[in-house]
């Protein structure tokens, strides 16, 4: 602090010599309260550091997941050999049990080495993979247990990402086609693999499409015909036993089983005697169903034949790999998603694999119970849900805010409503989930099922969690965000502008429409984006109203009516929960969780930053005029 100068005295005529005043520097020091200020500063610093550290942790781990790391081969003192990617390393305090596993000759040297490090030892976690042979995915290797010179990076170690059983690490031995060896030796096999893999995968994809698209279409046709029949049954109030008897009859006819025909006929006659008479329309519906069943039978057989052909073709091409402990494993080329000789790759080669894995992650379906492959359905589900939610929440939120701010008469009731709406933002999201499940699924959905989908009951169509209900639940959850933001934006429009508009003779609606809303629009958009950000990151209510770990079909696809709001869907947030918490092999799933997390927080942060950017622009545009 600056030295306090004595006040110039104007009363005394002659200047007195300056008296040195006590400095009181200590007092200034006390008053500044520096230690407490430091506590405040450290508080802020720690808050920022912890939060950014958390984000950095996610970003680092998430981004590193797909980078191909070198494959190491280690031979330990007790003679076992491991080959795998190094996942991570740490230091720990080995106890006596660990030391006992070291062969006796080396034990003392190891003990001395550990004690030299203060009792600590470092170890690495190798992803040794080959679960189908070894029964484990990972192995810890102690650095002290490695035999001298026992560590190397074998050039031809290949990491194979398979459709099943997780990864495989081994050395390519030979390529076989239909049982005959067509390539032998590492290099030749690898070249053969590179030449044939793309074609095998193309066939595999063809088979997958046959199975899912064409088979699915056939199944849907039969299912629809069955539902038509059921609808007719309900309409005509046909007793179910009549229908079973009729089906038995037509089956017996098809195989010319005279006694069966006779028995079914008499059953039909008995029921008809009891009072039921099928009319023409009902008989037509039955015949229509049977016709479809007959016609699809042939198509099914043809499809199955094609699939079997492809299967045979796919099974013929096999790459045989040898593991580090001398076992051999034959892997059909079609089963190989990607094989990477990670030790042979240059930096750019690695980058290529890295980007390729990212592409797969973003654009492909998950496999291996979600711990491998992509998250495309989850991204799709998250985006679709957020969009439907936004479409539902913005109009109502804006209307409610307009009412509260422009039309309702200010009074205690309206301020109470305003407080209540404000507080709704603080109500736990799970409560909205409870409401969504109880009201949307079990009340509204069940009623819709009763009215429109009674044919497929007791299987619920809308009476269970689904995309629509999840979106509406989250719309309710984010409604306060939109209302509050819109109200703030409306309130920020200066009174003078409204008054000017009225003075020009504009009506209330004209004023709102031409003057208020355009000026409030950025604020409303901010609210909408904040609502999207909140909705996209919310998981708890979705667990109740429709997010599932694996949805077989996307909620929007190529079959009529294209949008299926009743379907369950996958969600990035739920994916994280499911992978991280319910996964069998959580160590293998962890990198994927980090990457999914990175994706989700990027999405949410982008939405938020957009809102903040709009808000800042808005503030700049309207600032300065007031003060």
């Amino acid at each position: 602090m600056t030295q306090l100068a004595p006040a110039p005295s104007t009363l005394t005529p002659q200047p007195r010599p300056r008296q040195p005043r006590p400095s009181h520097q200590g007092g200034t020091l006390l008053a500044a309260g520096e230690p407490m200020v430091w506590l405040l500063a450290a508080g802020l610093g720690m808050a920022i550091a912890m939060i950014s550290g958390l984000v950095a942790l996610v970003v680092w781990n998430g981004a590193a997941t797909f980078w191909p790391v070198p494959v190491v081969e280690v031979r330990t003192l007790d003679g076992s050999i491991h080959l795998g990617e190094v996942v991570r390393s740490d230091t720990y305090r080995p106890d006596e049990v660990v030391l006992q596993s070291i062969p006796e000759g080396d034990r003392e040297a190891v003990r001395a080495a550990i004690e030299g490090e203060g009792g600590l030892a470092s170890r690495r976690l190798l992803r040794t993979a080959n679960f189908d042979l070894s029964g484990t995915h990972f192995t810890w290797v102690d650095d002290f247990s490695i035999a001298p010179g026992g560590e190397s990076n074998p050039e031809w170690a290949v990491v194979v990402e398979r459709l099943e059983w997780g990864r495989f690490v081994g050395v390519p031995l030979r390529g076989e086609q239909g049982g005959a060896v067509v390539a032998e030796g590492e290099e030749a096999t690898w070249t053969w693999y590179e030449d044939h893999h793309a074609e095998a995968r193309r066939l595999w994809r063809e088979r997958r499409e046959l199975k899912s698209d064409e088979m699915g279409a056939l199944n849907r046709r039969i299912e629809e015909a069955r539902l038509d029949l059921r609808r007719a049954e309900l309409r005509e109030q046909a007793p179910p036993e009549w229908v079973t008897a009729w089906t038995d009859l037509s089956r017996a006819r098809a195989v010319h089983d005279e006694s069966g025909i006779e028995a079914s006929r008499s059953r039909l006659a008995a029921i008809e005697a009891a009072g039921f008479r099928p009319n023409e329309r009902f008989l037509e519906a039955i015949e229509g169903y049977e016709a479809i069943e007959r016609s699809t039978e042939g198509e099914f057989a043809a499809l199955r034949g094609r699939i079997e052909d492809l299967d045979a073709q796919l099974a013929a091409e096999v790459m045989v790999l040898g593991t580090v402990d001398g076992q051999e494993q034959a892997i059909p080329l079609a089963e190989i998603v990607r094989a990477v000789p990670q030790n042979r790759l240059s930096w750019f080669g690695r980058l290529g694999v890295y980007l390729d894995r990212w592409m797969e992650f973003l654009l492909d379906d998950p496999r291996e119970s979600n711990s491998e492959g992509g998250v495309y359905p989850a991204i799709f589900g998250t985006v679709a849900m957020t969009l439907i939610m936004t479409i539902a929440v913005v109009p109502f939120g804006v209307l409610a805010a307009l009412y509260l701010r422009e039309y309702a008469k200010a009074g205690p009731l309206i301020s109470a409503v305003r407080i209540a709406v404000n507080n709704l933002a603080g109500v736990p999201s799970i409560v909205f989930g409870v409401f969504g499940l109880g009201f949307f699924c079990y009340v509204v959905g069940a009623s819709i099922d009763q009215l429109l989908f009674s044919a497929s009951l007791p299987n619920p169509t809308y009476g269970k969690g689904g995309l629509l209900w999840a979106s509406l639940t989250l719309a309710l959850l984010t409604l306060p965000v939109v209302i509050v933001a819109t109200e703030e934006a409306l309130a920020a429009v200066p009174r003078s502008m409204r008054e000017g508009s009225y003075a020009c003779g504009a009506s209330k609606w004209q004023t709102i429409h031409r003057i208020v809303l355009p000026r409030a629009l950025p604020g409303i958009m901010t609210g909408a984006i904040l609502a999207m950000a909140r909705g996209a990151g919310e998981v708890a209510p979705l667990m109740l109203v429709g997010a599932v770990k694996l949805a077989p079909e996307l909620p929007i696809d190529g079959t009529l009516p294209f949008v299926h709001p009743e379907r369950s869907f996958m969600h990035l947030g739920f994916h994280i929960y499911d992978l991280g918490f319910q996964s069998q092999n959580s160590e293998a799933a962890k990198p994927m969780v980090f990457t999914t997390t990175l994706l989700l927080i990027t999405l949410v942060a982008m939405l938020n930053l957009m809102a903040i950017w709009i808000r800042a622009r808005l503030r700049r545009r309207f600032a300065g005029s007031q003060f």
Binding site: Q25, G26, G27, T28, L29, L30, A31, G33, E34, P35, V37, W38, L39, L40, A41, A42, G43, L44, G45, M46, I48, I51, L54, L57, P239, P240, E241, A270, I271, A274, F396, L399, A400, Y403, Y407, N422, L424, V427, P428, I430, V431, G433, V434, L437, F439, L479, S507, K508, W509, I512, A533, V539, A540, L544, I576, Y577, G580, F581, I601, V604
Partner: protein
Amino acid sequence: MADQTFTGWVRRRTTSARVKVADAAARVLITTAGLATIVAVAGMCVFLVAIAAPLFLPGKVSAARSLAPQLAEDAAAPVHVALDEHRTIGFACFGDGEVVVFDSETGDPIDRRRLFDEPPTAWSFVPGGDLAIFAFADGTVRHGTLGFTAEFVEPSEIEPEFRTLEVGASRRGDGGVVQRTASGSFRIQRFAAALSEPAKISEKPVRLVDLSMLTTGPVLVAVDDERTLHVKSVTVIRNMMTRRETLRVSGGSIELPPTIGGGSLPVHCLLEGRADSALLVWADGRALRIDTRDRSEPALAERLDLLPEGGGTITAVSFMIGKTTLLVGDADGAVDAWFRVRPSEQSELAALVDGTRLVRAHRLEGAAGVAVRSLAASNRTRMAAAGFADGSARLYSVTNDRLLATCPPQDGWHQAITALSISPKDDGLLTASADGCALWQVDVPHPQTTVGSIFGKVWYEGYERPEHVWQSSSGTDEFEPKFGLVPLLFGSIKATLYAMLFGTPLAILAAIYTSEYLHPRTRARVKPAIEVMASLPSVVLGFLAALVFAPLVERVVPALLASFFVIPFAVLVAAHAWQFLPTARATRLAGWRVPLGLLAAAAGLAAAFAGGPAIERWCFGGDIMGWLAWKPDGEPSPFASPFGGWLLLLLPFSTVGSWWLVARASSGRMRTAISRMDRPQAAAAQLAKFLAGSALSLGVAAGLAAALSALGFDPRGGVVDTYVQRNALIVGFLMGFAIIPIIYTIAEDALSSVPEHLRSASLGLGATPWQTAVRIIVPTAMSGIFSAVMVGLGRAVGETMIVLMAAGNTPILEWNIFNGFRTLSANIAVELPEAVPHSTEYRMLFLAGLSLFMLTFLVNTFAEWVRQRFRKRAFAL
């Protein structure tokens, strides 16, 4: 001239219709849509209430249908009655072995048959099924089932006379009762009895008998004329050639001591469901419990008095489902429920023969002065019914001592209810007396939930004492769901508390620094950055907590605990060192306080981690996990001393105390002395003061810890106890992350909205920024800061994903910071997807949701109210 304007435009003086219509339409649309939105939001609360409310509604028992007045030809009273699950057919069994089957719609007898040639001397009907056993004068017993069979018949095959039945209607015929089902086919319910061949168990006539069915086969107990108790297992041997079944009986017997009952025979003999304990009851209330775990050598386990109040006579005894809880009715109309408990105290346990004792857990509200004549238990729940001597009956929910309904006698009927039965689906009550039978319709969907049983302690079967328990499902049919919300509420509060303890101070410190010390341009960057963190999805935090931090923290607990003290200490030491800087330099470098403070904190953290093993060695016997899990067992152990735990627990308090002491001591002359000093001297004095204060707080804590340890107090079992990997510490830490941005934002808003002129005035009067902040800004913004804390609390209470993933989800009542818990929100997330709509569990989960809703809504409303007051006050300044 009037029409002539300067611009040449003609002014229209009327508003065009289009504008008017648009205006009106907008008004109507906005008003309806706005109101509808608000009403819809309010409807949410109404809906939650509507689903949860039936839990508390009382049950309904609608008027009885009196059935055939006389079932027996000789006006005898039945000893047992039963109904089928659709309430279409029933039977009554009489003491002479006669069974009358009747249509429960009309009461018309369908069948009348005698089960045995000889009348039985004793019988027992097992609750929770249709098992029964009869004993005879020749010392033999026959066991088997008396129940109903259902046969489904297609309409084409049913007798023509039934084809006209409406859906749901029933009619007598075809040896039973025919009912048309909803799917259109017909169901014929018939009475069926299947009894084994006689098996001889005694040479003397059997006077009392009971049976329990184990997976290995039936086990029975019987008392014969000579006061001998027989315990027998029955094995059925099937001859492969002849396909004939023979029964082989094995087991032992025990003579009843003559000292009890004055040599008379007991009046009741019962065998528990697992056949490990039998009970003999005399009319005067005295009882013997026999340990029958070893069937060949039954032994006396306990002597009891079932009427501890003295006097009275026991008039009815029955087991409930599972045959564990015993209902005892006496001549004064009281109904008690007894069951065996296993005491947790070692000393008590040692005194017991089989490690358990029978205790009276429930007293039900009986009809005063009217003897209980019969008791019946539900086949699926803890409902029970009692029939009284005056012909009335009562329906109870035993676990929560609740009287569900009273059924008065039929007009003109006076005979005692000798048998009664709750229908298999708990929707009917059949009472029988010598006057006849009456069928009551029972509609009690949620017998086990009352305000008392949800929020209070309930004595569940097998528990040592009344407790708060949440356990909604289990593997067995006989399991009783336990719906006590208290453990879940407790979990929510525990999570919130630990999260607030960690998050609030940090957030408020950061907010004050941001608003008072940060350059506006920096503030404009920092604040949005922290706000973005508020929308960090909580599932991310949950995942990090459970999979990254939980395994990490487990390895560094002592260092982590130490860092709570070492980090602030390091920061304060650094601040005191900073004071040695000359004024000019300190002023110039003031902007570096945040990074330097952070550096000091990091140094503190590093020091704590470096010192962690040492602390573990000194305070926790070298292994904190072992120290926490240690239980006194008389053995000498390095973990026996509670000193280290006390030290860490007391340190915060002693710090606050010595802070206060040092501040008091240095406020007067010492302060004046320091203010007169030069800057370096003053800084040195301050540092000395601080170090002295720190030493004092450590010393006080150590002294107190030593004293408490010497006195034999141990913190373990309270706030600290056995370490579980997913625990409150982790949740508190990560949930702290979730609430820091919220508290920070709102508190910072409150601080910055303190009018600028107050700040200017204070600074202008020569106050330092610190003095301004502490004496002017913070007190003015206090209510705003408070409301920020409340909003943070609201968020912490309802947070789901973090606790779901990181809290272990065991619903226990324990403050232990190293143990998990289950919160209301996590419980909903775990159980609601599996709950059957409209079941008790479903409604309980809605009640949990409603509690959360109300809790957060109230907290937030309060915060909002405080904030509005604050705003008004700030405006007034």
